[in-house]
Amino acid sequence: MADRKQTLRLGFEGHLRKVDVTLPATEATPWDADSKLEIVGTEVPRLDGHLKVSGRAKYTFDVALPGMLWAAVLRSPHPAARIESIDVSKAEGQPGVKAVLAVAKPGDTLRFAGQDVAAVAAERPEQARDALALIEVRYTPLPFVVDTEGAMRDKAPRVHEAPITERRTEGDEPGKAKAGGMQGNVRALPPNERGNVDKALRESDVVHEATYVTQVQTHSALETHGVLVRWDGDQSMTVWASTQGIFSVRDEMAEVFGLAPSKVRVITEYLGGGFGAKFGASAPGSRLGFIAGELSRLARAPVKLMCDRHEEHVCTGNRPDSRQAVALGGRRGKLHAIDVVAHGTAGIGTGAGVGRNAFSLYTRCPNARVRAHDVFTNGGPGTAMRAPGHPQGAFALELALDELAAKMGVDPLKLRLDHDEHPLRSMQLRQGAERFGWDELRKRSAQLRSRNTRVRKGVGVASSLWGDFGRANAAVATCSVLRDGTIELKNGVQDIGGGIPTVIAQVGAEVFARPLSTIRVRYGDSDYGPSVGSGGSTTTSSVTPAVRNACEQARVALQELAAKQLKVPAGEVRWDGDGTAHGGGGSITFGQLCKKIDGEAIVATATRPATYGHEPMAFPGSKFYQIAGAQFAEVEVDTWTGVVRATRVLAVHDCGRVMNPLTLRSQINGGVIQGTSYALMEERVLDGDLGRMLNPNLESYKILGARDVPEIEVMLTEVHTGANNTGAVGIGEPATVPTAAAIACAVYDALGVPVRSLPITPAKVLEALGMIPGRPA
């Protein structure tokens, strides 16, 4: 069938306009600014809330099968070593032990402390752990380097001898080009440049140059990584996995064990968070799926492998660190040049880029250049983590911008407004500033500074950019209208906590004008049809349009059935608010109509086409909408102890159509709090002498707790982008991009001196202030 043209009203409040889009013939007419929706966009509480509060929601950690064994993994104690020999025989006869596996082989090189060496499956978890102690491994320790700067030196031990292949997941930002060659441990990522930065810096009347440092952050989901594998015969298996990508687990298990993907069923009823680290059957630094699957094959019993908290920190991924040398040029009060040279380490892995902020946010600055590098170190591999690269990049850029603003004597907010081309973000910045009380609060900070008080307050602002990376043809949804009047919606997506099943149900209820209680959503199982991973903030924008198409198609069939019952042409059937069909003077209720269904159900299956619009502004170099956001932060600093508290954050965000304000706000709260935690507390510490992590727990690896949460206000600026038929775009990642940057700017405002290193610990604050803070010299 031929494509069709459709005129939609798109944009945002005060900036709506008519736009023509071209749609595939089968595509439902997109909801736009003129659509009046009854259920989508309302505050529907999470459907699974009741299961979660009663302990009935089953997580991978909770699944127990008859005869199930527990696996434990022996991990390398050395940051770099060659395996000389490995003898598992003593472990084999141990009580309860059913299978032992040497994962590494003699001659293998181990590259970080925590790497897989061997594994055991036993009847009880402690038996498996005890047996590990009897595995004899002879290592030859090799030179290693765990710190980023050390690894960049000429004589540093080489972490990889050969160029390495990049591990990419659905959590990564799409569309990155290939990286350059290796020089020692350093590998250049594709550079970005516009204008002539070197010349522009020479032309500038003010130049600000400084280096900004960010730490390694671990994902620290509350449920650790884990899989449970059960072979169903020789050629098929069922896998329970704590994953944010059911189909990525399926594909990897199929590949590893040489099975047809259709013979691997993956189930994730619930999972306890992921934040980018839970794609694929392997964790980034541990072959969990292979180990569990192989032990299970050997032992002929289901095997469960759950990481403990230590393993979770060490080998399941992290947000890489960064050292960003930033030079900003200012000319006549305007930003004239941005130059960033970044080095970061993703340990033995790749992906230490610093996001798009420096290059793509302040596009009115004519000259910009970002050159980022991966530096390899003997640490656990990094992986995508909630908006990979962006919080790092935002921190360096936004704090540098404030320092330049101070040197030029202009207001930092104004400097941002002058250079941001996104019309919605400009509005967000202006409206946010007003609501936050920006001007007043800036004055207050200046007063406290000039009075040299012990406790200071400060405010900062930073911007967010992300793309609507909703994927075409990736999610296939099925809508079944059953004879008993139930509408069943199926898709094999996992719910990482964002609440996608609830939103799917809302879409079904909207299309059929039926109460939510009549909608049943099936998810979390590869048998329910292909879907996307929960990464890149794409879930809602990839899945809901497919669901809507399936629903609309089933409704067409239902409408034909109603027409037959009412004896009118299908085009004359009208539906009212409770799903009753009217036509030719008669009517038939939804329940009555469903009873007339021939067979068990009306079933329709559909997907979503490629993104067709990006009003009002595209993500740089793409056809995708650029998601806008801005956050304002207020902090309080005790200059005598150096303790910083974030007291208030105003988060102004767009997420396309607001599908459900409740789940949306909870995503934004989450992003802000995680960003606050990144700004003030979290830091993986590796011991330079031993090459091991010093704080692989939640006692000294700190994440924010209830007492340290700032007051958070959320302002939603809805935008109709014309991207897809529901209008949903993502929010999970944009909400965490600017928080740490805004807090760092606020600390600078409070102190008058910047802290250019995350996390902003009390010690760094005191160091920045000098010996005896808060008192005249």
Binding site: G49, S54, G55, G497, G524, V643, G670, L694, E699
Partner: protein, 516 residues
């Protein structure tokens, strides 16, 4: 006399109202392992197995709490199973009427839910939901507490539950809805039925098999029985809250061969304040000490506010905190500043040891073999004393101090007549800053004197650097706390903490404090 008791007892406990008899598990099995394993209750989650996340929170009825039996939210990942002997345990499964069965993805719409569950659903307090069962059980305790009358107390109650999806705001809203509700329900009734003291004694022997060692666990009812055990088993380790010892089990895989709990020895639980003296028993739980000192001894309460979490304070004891002799134990500086006396006892009688002599060296105390710590005694600070305590850490909850300090000066006629400035985290043991003290005594009580004395901190301590703080930071902060002491005691001689958490570890919390 030998410890008299049956040759072997079973651990008897009630889980969600059902009596359970445990005969065949190692006594170093944690309550969490038991619940998720043999008991088949997977609603309670494991997030860290180290007391840091709260996912494993369950509620235990403490029959011996001051003021009568009460619910306590505790970390089940640290509690050793025999410590629950004779106790009632409630898990998340107990709360809704249709508790245990698994309803699939559409198995429940909530009828029969407890008010705390209703409140959390309504507030959208779960994202991934993994923290939720633990959150529910902390809220459950809040629901039956009568004293949660200020917002900061709610944060305090909930601070032991980490949520990585960071639903703290809705969780706080939900907690506000139900705090102190005390519904007239089956749980309240169960509480009323528990006798004032059901302290049960126990002798539990676990036959090692298949490579696992044999282990014994005793709960003696009297001190003399305990001394018998100590004589007979030199390797005996004492345990009460297990918030310290439990970590050796879960982190290091220790399988202690012989353990004895002090929980059934009534005289160790006593907490008295009369005639200007405090007597605080070894097994007094820190949550109860915090309550008792909130008004009456603010420096102690200040230290306890940011000590561990509610769950930790519900288990942890005074004796456990002092006897592990950690250089960063938070009670020690307060006791040093308030001139406390430690009372230790062995079969031959009691010994009184000044607090300053109790902490001998890194992780070691003045306890001799065959002795245990029984109580600490201290006088109320005199009317002319100014005392303030500080716990400086990165996070507000569950954070070990970088520096802890309890600072006291006695001031007569505007002149400092005595000073006891005690610090934790600055040396191998909790210790006083003698040089700073000497610099203050005899000086007028003023900011200038404090500033001058603070300069001497380097004479007292050469702190170490670790991931909690560098030596430079510790020394700088310690000096600044001495400076802050003047200001912070200017309005009130023994300040409490401000209600709202602020960046200040100091008192006022007002940004208008001005130093010309």
């Amino acid at each position: 006399m030998r410890y008299a008791g049956p040759d072997m007892d079973a651990v008897l406990l009630h889980v969600n109202g059902e009596a359970r008899e445990v005969l065949d598990v190692s006594p170093t099995t944690t309550l969490l392992e038991y619940l998720r394993g043999p008991a088949g209750l997977s609603g309670t989650k494991e997030g860290c197995a180290e007391g840091d996340c709260g996912a494993c929170t369950v509620v235990v009825i403490d029959p011996d709490a001051p003021g009568g039996p009460r619910f306590r939210a505790v970390n089940s990942c640290l509690l050793l199973l025999p410590l629950l002997h004779g106790k009632h345990v409630l898990t998340v499964e107990a709360l809704s009427q249709h508790g245990g069965q698994h309803g699939g993805q559409h198995g429940g719409d909530g009828p029969g839910h407890h008010p705390v569950q209703q409140a959390l659903v309504a507030a959208l307090g779960s994202q991934c939901g993994y923290c939720t069962p633990g959150v529910i059980m902390s809220m459950f305790e809040a629901c039956y507490r009568g004293d949660l009358d200020a917002p900061w107390k709610l944060d305090d109650q909930m601070c032991g539950n980490l949520c990585r999806c960071t639903g703290y705001r809705p969780i706080r809203e939900a907690t506000q809805q139900i705090a102190g509700l005390r519904p007239d329900d089956r749980f309240g009734a169960a509480l009323a039925e528990v006798g004032p003291s059901t302290s049960a004694t126990l002798r539990y022997a676990f036959e090692g098999r298949g490579g696992t060692p044999s282990q014994s666990f005793w709960i003696p009812g009297t001190l003399s029985e305990l001394w018998d055990l100590m004589d007979a088993h030199p390797e005996l380790r004492l345990v009460v809250g297990a918030t310290d010892l439990g970590l050796d089990v879960t982190k290091k895989g220790e399988r202690f061969p012989a353990l004895a709990s002090l929980q059934a020895i009534a005289e160790l639980r006593r907490l008295e304040h009369a005639d200007g003296r405090w007597s605080i028993g070894a097994t007094v739980r820190l949550a109860d000490l915090e309550d008792a000192t909130a008004q009456a001894l603010p420096p102690m309460a200040r230290m306890l506010r940011f000590f561990g979490s509610r769950q930790i304070k519900n288990s942890a004891t005074v004796g456990g905190n002092l006897c592990n002799a950690s250089p960063i134990g938070d009670l020690a500086p307060v006791l040093l500043a308030l001139d406390a006396t430690m009372v230790v006892a062995g079969r031959s009688g009691e010994r009184r040891v000044p607090a300053g002599e109790f902490f001998v060296s890194y992780r070691s105390t003045a306890l001799r073999p065959g002795e245990l710590f029984v109580r600490v005694e201290l006088p109320d600070p005199p009317a002319n004393a100014r005392v303030v305590a500080y716990k400086v850490s990165k996070r507000r909850e569950m954070d070990i101090s970088a520096v802890a300090a309890a600072l006291r000066v006695d001031v007569d006629g505007g002149v400092v007549t005595a000073a006891r400035l005690a610090f934790g985290g600055m040396a191998a043991t909790p210790a006083r800053a003698r040089a700073v003290e000497a610099a203050l005594v005899g000086q007028p009580w003023s900011q200038a004197s404090c500033d001058a004395a603070a300069e001497r901190i380097g004479d007292d301590f050469t702190p170490m650097s670790d991931h909690r703080g560098s030596a430079w930071y510790r020394a700088t902060v310690a000096g600044n706390l001495v400076r802050a002491m003047f200001d912070d005691t200017s309005q009130c001689a023994m300040p409490g903490l401000p209600d709202r958490p602020t960046s200040m570890v100091g008192t006022a919390g007002s940004s208008s404090v001005h130093h010309p």
